[in-house]
Symmetry: C2
Subunit: 161 residues, 2 copies
C-alpha cells in the first residue's frame, strides 16, 4: 500500500468529503424544518427543553445547561433570551451564587416539548433510521465515534502549541 498520511486527499476522498458534509448538512436542515413546521420549535429549543425536562424540578444553572447540551455560554445566553421572550422558559437568580442564573421550564415550555416529542421521534425515524440498513446505522455510530475522538485529539494538539 502506498503512503497516505501527510498527503493531500485523493480525488475519491475529496468527493466523499463533499458528499458527506453536504448530505449531513441537508439532513440537519431537513430535521430543523420538520421540527419547526410540526411543533414551532427550533432544534435549539428542543435541546434546551429536553435538558430542562430531564433535570430536577425543570431547572438548571446556565452553565450546567450549557455543559449538558454542549453549547458555548454566549450562545446559550442569546438563546435563553429568545426562549424567555416566547415564554418557553424563565430566568431566575441562583440563590447559592449570586453571579449565577437558572433557567426554569415554564408550563408553556413543558407543553410545547410534549407536543413536539412524538413528531420529532417520528422524523428521526423517517429521515434517518428508515433510510439506512441496520449495518449502516451501526456504521454511522462507528463513524461518529471515530470522528469525534479525532476532533478532540486535534483540538488538544491545537491547544498545546
Amino acid at each position: 500500500m502506498t503512503q497516505r498520511r501527510g498527503r493531500f486527499p485523493t480525488r475519491e476522498e475529496l468527493r466523499i468529503w463533499r458528499d458527506f458534509i453536504e448530505t449531513t448538512e441537508a439532513l440537519r436542515a431537513a430535521m430543523a424544518a420538520r421540527l419547526q413546521s410540526e411543533s414551532g420549535l427550533s432544534t435549539g429549543d428542543y435541546s434546551v427543553l429536553l435538558a430542562l425536562t430531564e433535570a430536577e424540578n425543570g431547572r438548571l444553572r446556565s452553565s450546567e445547561l450549557a455543559a449538558t447540551i454542549g453549547w458555548e455560554r454566549s450562545r446559550l445566553s442569546h438563546h435563553l433570551g429568545r426562549m424567555d421572550r416566547r415564554g418557553l422558559i424563565r430566568r431566575e437568580n441562583c440563590t447559592s451564587d449570586n453571579r449565577g442564573a437558572e433557567a426554569v421550564l415554564t408550563e408553556e415550555g413543558a407543553a410545547a416539548f410534549h407536543r413536539a416529542t412524538v413528531p420529532h421521534l417520528r422524523a428521526i425515524r423517517e429521515l434517518f433510521v428508515d433510510g439506512l440498513t441496520p449495518a449502516q446505522i451501526r456504521a454511522a455510530g462507528d463513524l461518529a465515534a471515530a470522528l469525534g475522538d479525532h476532533l478532540i485529539l486535534d483540538r488538544e494538539k491545537e491547544e498545546n502549541l
Copy 2:
C-alpha cells in the same frame, strides 16, 4: 427479526442519531473555523470562489451558480452582497437577459481562493481523512449516498401530498 419500520427509534438508534448529528455538526464547525482563521474565508465564500474559478472566464449567472453549489437564490444573493462588499467578486448585468445578473471573480477573489486551497485541503485531510480508516471512509461515502437518496424520496413524497 422483529418488526421495525413504522415504530419509534430504539434507544440505541436514538443514541446513534444524536452522536451522528452532533459530531457532523462539530466537524462542520471545526472546518469553518480552520478556513476562517487560516484564510479569512467562510465555507460559503470558498464554495462560491471554487465554482467561479472553475467556470469559464471566472463568471457565472447567479442562477447557475446557485444550482452549481446547491443554494437557494436568496441565500446566494445575500452572500454575493457580502462578498461584493469585500471585493471578492463583483456583479454585472447579464447582456442576454436583462433580468439576469452575473457574478464575476475579481483578482482579489482569485488570489484569496488560491491562498486558501492548500490549507483547506490539508484541513480536510487532518480533520476527516486522518481520523478514519479506509473502510470507514468508504462507509462515509456509502452513508452519504443512502441518506441523500432517502432525503430526496422524502421530499418528493412531501410534495405530492
